[in-house]
Symmetry: C2
Subunit: 215 residues, 2 copies
């Protein structure tokens, strides 16, 4: 597959939004959209969209606008949604179960292939059609199946210990819901954090004060 | 309370992390920390931390470092965690229940005061000690109790309709887990988005490609 290098993270973070908006347009039967219309729908400027897409080659045609199905497919390819990365989920508590059952992993580039929990009571239960395995089996599993990503839905202390082990077993990326900042102690590991508490505190500040700049 | 104006959102977004790290230090019994130590723990430069804190008046003392309990308390005040904002949660499905039961709302500035669901089967159930109310009761509730925030754990289409109503009933802020981008159609409303699907797709890209810049 084509590899993109050096595109900035802020551009990359907008790609899923483009993909999401284009998917909505597709579902609504829209096959062509002007850059002005797309930008007003997305709350961006037309030139911002052009600049973003130019990082990957550019897809607009002067006076034609964007071809919705083609651009949707292209952005999906850029994101690598067709690569079938394998994810394991660690921690089948409230949050872990919700993530496992709520997320459409397949449409976001991933297959959820195993779920682990440290509680012997939880191991053996079925979540999203998968039998929850005990964390004792994780090393064997990782060495045998080389999952690309570990989704951490466990408390901070457990995350700190487990991240270290998972890295030593070859896991190179994390979708991290714990409050442990993995990336600081593990250079070269890819971490996408979802710090829900941080998000809630940010909201608290924004309600109490005026903030400069938008999302 | 003191109001801060015009601090940039990127600085604001780092405040909860400071609060989190300082809380860990407090729990570990650390009462004083040099700016160098704090910065290495957080993966930031000392000058970045100084600059961030200077937006709110600055708290370091030359040659002394930071007083951990004082800085922790001060950042909590800046965030407004002591203001007791009232939140309602809409959508008691998998994700909504997990959010309701998993989050320590009180330590993040909020009280969760009501949970709503559109399903008559779900209304009446107990989640986090609250009886789930039917969404038909939401207008009466909002007009009577003026919640500060609505947490949306509902599908996009429902979010689009409900956000409009909630705004008309006086709700001015959203913690948004739906895929509907509220802020685009409702100017002046404060929205903190948790787009889990976008986060997962960003991770997919980052595994497949090299990205410039961190976090």
């Amino acid at each position: 597959m084509a590899k993109y290098e050096g595109v900035s993270l802020s551009v990359v973070r907008r790609l899923p939004r483009y993909h999401r908006f284009l998917e909505d347009l597709l579902k609504a039967g829209v096959h062509r959209i002007s850059s002005r219309e797309l930008s007003s729908k997305m709350g961006l400027t037309a030139s911002q969209i052009r600049q973003d897409l130019n990082c990957f080659g550019g897809f607009g045609q002067q006076g034609y606008g964007y071809n919705v199905p083609a651009l949707h497919a292209e952005i999906g390819k850029i994101l690598g949604l067709d690569q079938g990365l394998r994810a394991i989920l660690v921690g089948a508590g409230n949050l872990g179960r919700a993530i496992a059952t709520h997320m459409a992993f397949e449409t976001k580039g991933f297959t959820l292939s195993a779920i682990f929990d440290s509680s012997p009571q939880v191991a053996g239960e079925s979540v999203r059609g998968l039998t929850v395995l005990h964390t004792d089996e994780m090393e064997r599993y990782c060495r045998a199946y080389h999952p690309d990503v570990a989704i951490l839905c466990i408390p901070k202390e457990a995350a700190q210990q487990l991240a270290e082990k998972l890295v030593s077993w070859g896991v190179k990326a994390f979708w991290n819901f714990s409050h442990y900042d993995i990336a600081i102690e593990h250079q070269g590991i890819i971490v996408e954090n979802v710090h829900l508490g941080d998000s809630l505190m940010t909201l608290c500040y924004r309600i109490n004060n005026t903030v400069d700049g938008e999302k």
